[in-house]
Symmetry: C2
Subunit: 276 residues, 2 copies
């Protein structure tokens, strides 16, 4: 636990949450960009299909990533906690230049990989510069605090959302996905009102937030990213409201950002597309 003063300063890798239903065939710009930041032709992408209960999710993504130009792609279908002990898979993971979580149920990822050397290894790889991305459930899992369950609707109501510990790559933001399509602004606001220390990032389908090593969100895709900035919130009624009551929250700032838009997580500044 003592510092290693000779080690050079190392930037963490990209964090790439995708809102689900990303285009895999016609204009797969999001997956292409993920391959690019993972090394392109030299990429060794590891797909973790643990969220899914379909047997072919891993092999399907292997095919897609290879077809789109990734040098290598291998799915590691962790399905039980004991799988974390497989040394052959762990070696492949350690050599990854990009890690991708598929959709499904985020509680499968946390329940199966939480607390294992695989979760620790992915955090370490990301800290060392390796990009980690995921779609839908695979996006939700990325931060320290993830939305596990919640109800639909634009109005935040007490008790409408349940958080749980996620993978822990960052605690600067909480992610919600299928954002417009499933009308989730209410549950994201409710989640942030519990403790307004993190930003909220709501991501539409076929849309991604490419979060750079220096903590700038870059939007890509056909929908928008909704940034919910609670850094200036003056009041939340979350502790007083009865179950199901609408919540009072004042001074929330929203940014709706289409492709090319940026949001700087360090100073909370949004920049529209086309502005330098």
């Amino acid at each position: 636990m003592s510092p290693s003063p000779t080690k050079e300063h190392q930037e963490r890798g990209w964090i790439v949450p995708i809102g689900g239903s990303e285009d895999k065939l016609h204009e797969p710009t999001i997956l292409r960009r993920f391959i690019e930041i993972s090394g392109g032709e030299d990429a060794r992408i590891v797909v973790i299909p643990t969220a899914s209960q379909l047997d072919d999710t891993g092999s399907r993504y292997e095919g897609i990533f290879r077809e789109l130009g990734a040098g290598h792609c291998k799915a590691l279908p962790y399905a039980e906690r004991a799988d974390a002990n497989r040394d052959d898979w762990y070696e492949i993971l350690q050599a990854a230049t990009g890690i991708f979580f598929t959709g499904g149920n985020q509680l499968r990822i946390s329940g199966i990989l939480g607390g294992t050397r695989v979760a620790q290894g992915i955090r370490r790889l990301n800290a060392m510069g390796i990009p980690v991305g995921g779609t839908s459930a695979g996006a939700a899992i990325l931060p320290e605090h993830m939305i596990a369950y919640g109800s639909t609707g634009g109005t935040p109501r007490a008790g409408m959302v349940s958080l749980s510990p996620g993978l822990g790559l960052t605690n600067r933001f909480v992610i919600d996905q299928h954002f417009r399509e499933r009308d989730r602004l209410g549950r994201l606001l409710a989640a942030l009102s519990y403790n307004p220390f993190a930003m909220g990032i709501g991501i539409d389908e076929n849309t991604a937030a490419f979060i750079s090593p220096d903590n700038v969100v870059h939007v890509e895709g056909t929908g928008t990213v909704t940034v919910v900035d609670v850094s200036a919130v003056q009041h939340t009624s979350v502790s007083d409201a009865g179950e199901g009551d609408p919540l009072c929250i004042t001074n929330v700032k929203l940014h709706i950002l289409p492709e090319g838009g940026r949001f700087d997580l360090r100073n909370f500044e949004a920049t529209p597309p086309g502005v330098a």
Copy 2:
């Protein structure tokens, strides 16, 4: 963000969750020990009564701590987010040798102080060696992941518990309080099953877990501390179970520790009272 290699290694301060209803009059051993680790006659204890909605909670604890021998004690009754900007209070906080959160509703603490310089300041003070404790809601708030709501009962059931971000002093454990009195083993197991990376610490009333700077839990008080060790869990059904269904969790290890018992959070070893 670059390391400061000349800085000496500094130990963090004690973390002291109390299960609620601690004895304040007859045999107040828990509060006395908290005063002792905060400096005794030289202690400057800051009480944060934010969880409570009673006006006299802060002044009541000021009286109790002074009567029990603390050199100084001052309540800082943060009641709105704007209160975090009060420089006079912030100066008092910065000079504290011990910080104590009263009971009430933990979502008041996170909703009012989350993301403010007060929450950041308390994390920094604890990292620099200052003890931080709390009772009931004030215990729940201490870790990174806190139980915000939940139902009663010994059986873990899907959806029976809601987590939210806490103060973030540690992410090694999740705390539950009034543990036997309110039959909370089920909800603590459900919370841990979301992501079995953290230990669970269930604390009875008039009982405390004094967690040393080197991460050993020391039990004090008339009840017990239940340590729920999920580090060897092989399976949880949390992602498959329907709302309200009983959860399957295998290979959970439990330790029930009365006063004098210890649990080492580094190697997961429990030691009964009277054993060196």
